[in-house]
Symmetry: C2
Subunit: 250 residues, 2 copies
Amino acid sequence: MHALTKLDNPGRKCDQCLVRHRALCRVAGTDALAELNRIARTRTFSAGSTIIASEDSMPFVGNVLSGVVKLTKVMADGRQQIVGLLFASDFVGRAFEDHWSYSAEAATDVEMCTFDRTAFERMLGKHPELEHQLLVSTLDELDAARDWMLLLGCKSAEEKVASFLMFVARRAANGGGCGEALPEAGAFEMPVSRTDMAAYLGTTVETVSRQITRLKTANIIRLTDMHHFIVPDIHRLAVAAGVDEVTLED
Amino acid sequence: MHALTKLDNPGRKCDQCLVRHRALCRVAGTDALAELNRIARTRTFSAGSTIIASEDSMPFVGNVLSGVVKLTKVMADGRQQIVGLLFASDFVGRAFEDHWSYSAEAATDVEMCTFDRTAFERMLGKHPELEHQLLVSTLDELDAARDWMLLLGCKSAEEKVASFLMFVARRAANGGGCGEALPEAGAFEMPVSRTDMAAYLGTTVETVSRQITRLKTANIIRLTDMHHFIVPDIHRLAVAAGVDEVTLED
DNA sequence: CGACATGTTGAACCTCATCAACCGACGTGG
DNA sequence: CCACGTCGGTTGATGAGGTTCAACATGTCG
């Protein structure tokens, strides 16, 4: 499965990096950056392949350069839940623990900038500003996870789907797409399948599909094709999502 | 609401601290400890009172010394979800952000060792070992949150309740109770109300109640009173909880 | 073209939320 | 002292929202 490639221009990789100014490494000083550069290695994974299995000893960690990574948990009987979707510039893996309880899979074709885990941990030890940044982004992830707990615990199917669309609209617009021009205000690409949506929302493919058509017939969204959504009025979608206030702009 | 008291023996508080060897401060060197001691202040909150409201600017952070703190999120229409339960030695609050999106409430009477937030942040900057430890425990919390996402997204009502009992059994036994002798193998106290259980499990009081009686009639649990549970065979409870393997011992 | 994956739609069933009544414990005030 | 309201918990009856199973549509790839 592990479809790997390596980019070997170790001298100046970071300069032209797509996520240079958004990922962890944005806080690295010039020397730290050079050091990161030395241990960095670009890997690519084709859609559907496993990046890190839950049994693996987690050989590496890294940042997503392009594509979408899903973190999943599965129960013994096969029921599974996606506990996180990671876009460009997001960090994958866990430092200071040699294996963890989810598995990371490529939801689309994925390109990552990876680091040997123990080497990366040594880096963190030497460069407090990096470790600090990792702490901050971990806190953000924790917030996001708890937001999702609210969704899973409280929201109706329609609210769930609407919330997910809001989530992707934001990530795909300012983050994941990364420079991808928006052809129309409120248009975005849905990078994952209906099945993945369902697994992330704690529901089934069928309900996701039904709710999408509901939103469609209510004229809250339109689809050009299966994976291209248009949201004419983000406010109406927010209402459908059951968002308290207009937390749209940050 | 804020029912406060202060213990003012700043000289040697930490020595006799209940959670000295389990909380963040366990990694503090003698000087860092002394400094922590200087900015520490014990506060108590009576059951039901708000510790930090979501609108507050989060004046302080701290460790739970005794009691149980719940982190809750509420939607505009009142639906609410508990996104975390914190026991003795757990850390409450968020550094590097002056307000956060949940509110912390005392589920029982609570005693906390608190620090002024900005002073605490300064401490973290000066003592990397503290910041490192905070990172590690944040990572653990993130794992816990994602475990709970699996529960909220996949599990049936019975599995939810059984899982919650397992959760409390473990925390109340090795952590929260802290020295409280277990009168019987597998006996523990339920520190929170049925309502809180429901809010944590993404269900209703009625279902919680029903599932408890189901577990009772199945002889998987017994109750001495409303808040004292006995689990004769933790394995059977684990099965009811839908736990993959025996992840009982860590 | 057929085979397969992905998504949509329909119909039946079932779990769980909802509404309501009830119970015991507790505290207050008459 | 008892009447009263309140609060936390349990139990019952009912129905809606979502799961499940199945058929169908669409798109893709050999």
